[in-house]
Symmetry: C2
Subunit: 173 residues, 2 copies
C-alpha cells in the first residue's frame, strides 16, 4: 500500500479584515501561479506514470482545487472529500474513517491525500515513527510518499520520497 | 548549512568466487547503465541550479566514480575522499573529522556526501532524530537533502527532500 500526502498549491492570502477567520480561510482559492504550478506538478507525475486509485481531499477550496487539477490530469479515477483532512482533523479520526470502509477498499493500493500543513508532515512522521517532531519540510505542491507493507497504520510506514515541487518543474517544464 | 547524502549509482555485482570479499567489494565499478543514470541525475541537478561547495566521497570505486561524474558536471568545485564514508564508517567518526577542520570551513554552506547504504539513510535519521529505525528508502543514485540551522549535528536537521532517481530522469531526459 502506498500513501501520498500532497500539500495544496499557493493560495491567496487571508483577508486581514475578515470577521470570521476560519470561514474565510476555508474559501481561500489557489492563485493563478498556484494553479499553474499544481498543473505542472501533475503533468510531471503523469509523465512518470504515478497513478492513484483514489484521491481524498480536504474540503477547503485551495485543497479541493488542487485535487481537481490532479483529477483533470487523470492521476486518479476517483476523488472524495473528507472533513478529516481539514486543518483541525487528526490522523486518528482519518484512520477510523478509513478502516470503517475496509470492505470496499480491497482493490485500492495507492491513495493520495490532499491537505494542509502542518498536518501532512506531522501525519507522515506519525506513520513513520509513531511520533512527530516537526522535522519534515513539506512545501506547497510538494509530495510525501509513504510505503506500507500492509494497511495504513501509525508507525508502519517507510519513507519513499519527499519531493519539493521544484524537482517536478524546472526549466524543462 | 545543507548536507546532501547521495548514494552511488548501480554497480557491477560482487564476483561470488572472490577470495577477499571486502577488497573485491571496494573495487566494484559502476555499470554502463549506472554511469548513464548518475550523469542524467547530475545534469538535472545542474539544471535545477543545485550546487555544492564541497563533495566528499567514500573511496570505494563505485562511490568515487559517482562523485567524479558530479564533479564533471560542475556541481562542485572540490572533491575530497574520506575513509569515514566507507561502509564501516560511523557518523561519529565523520563528525569528528568534520569538526576538526572547522577552521577552514567557514565559507562552506552546502556539502554533498557520496556513499553507501544502509549508512546514508541511517545517518539521515540520526541527523534528524538522533536515532535510526531504518525508515528511509534511499535508492541508488538517490538523494537525501538535510537542512541545518547551524553546523552539522546529530538530531539537528530537518528533511528537505528525499528524491529517488526516477524523479530526476523521466521521459524528458
Amino acid at each position: 500500500m502506498y500513501l501520498y500526502l500532497i500539500r495544496h498549491g499557493i493560495a491567496v492570502d487571508l483577508d486581514p479584515l475578515t470577521v470570521d477567520a476560519i470561514a474565510s480561510d476555508e474559501l481561500r482559492s489557489l492563485t493563478k501561479a498556484g494553479r499553474k504550478k499544481v498543473a505542472q506538478v501533475a503533468d510531471r507525475l503523469a509523465e512518470l506514470e504515478l497513478r492513484f486509485d483514489l484521491i481524498i481531499t480536504s474540503p477547503l477550496v485551495r485543497a479541493r482545487q488542487t485535487a481537481d487539477i490532479l483529477l483533470d490530469k487523470q492521476l486518479s479515477p476517483t476523488l472524495e472529500v473528507s472533513d478529516r483532512l481539514k486543518p483541525a482533523g487528526t490522523i486518528e479520526s482519518w484512520l477510523m474513517e478509513w478502516s470503517a470502509r475496509s470492505h470496499d477498499i480491497s482493490t485500492i493500493s495507492t491513495v493520495a491525500l490532499v491537505g494542509h500543513e502542518p498536518n501532512l508532515s506531522e501525519w507522515a512522521e506519525l506513520f513513520l515513527f509513531g511520533r512527530s517532531e516537526g522535522k519534515i519540510i513539506l512545501k506547497k505542491s510538494g509530495i510525501i510518499g509513504l510505503k506500507f507493507t500492509d494497511n495504513f497504520k501509525v508507525g508502519a510506514a517507510q519513507l519513499g520520497c519527499l519531493i519539493p515541487p521544484k524537482y517536478l518543474l524546472g526549466s524543462r517544464s
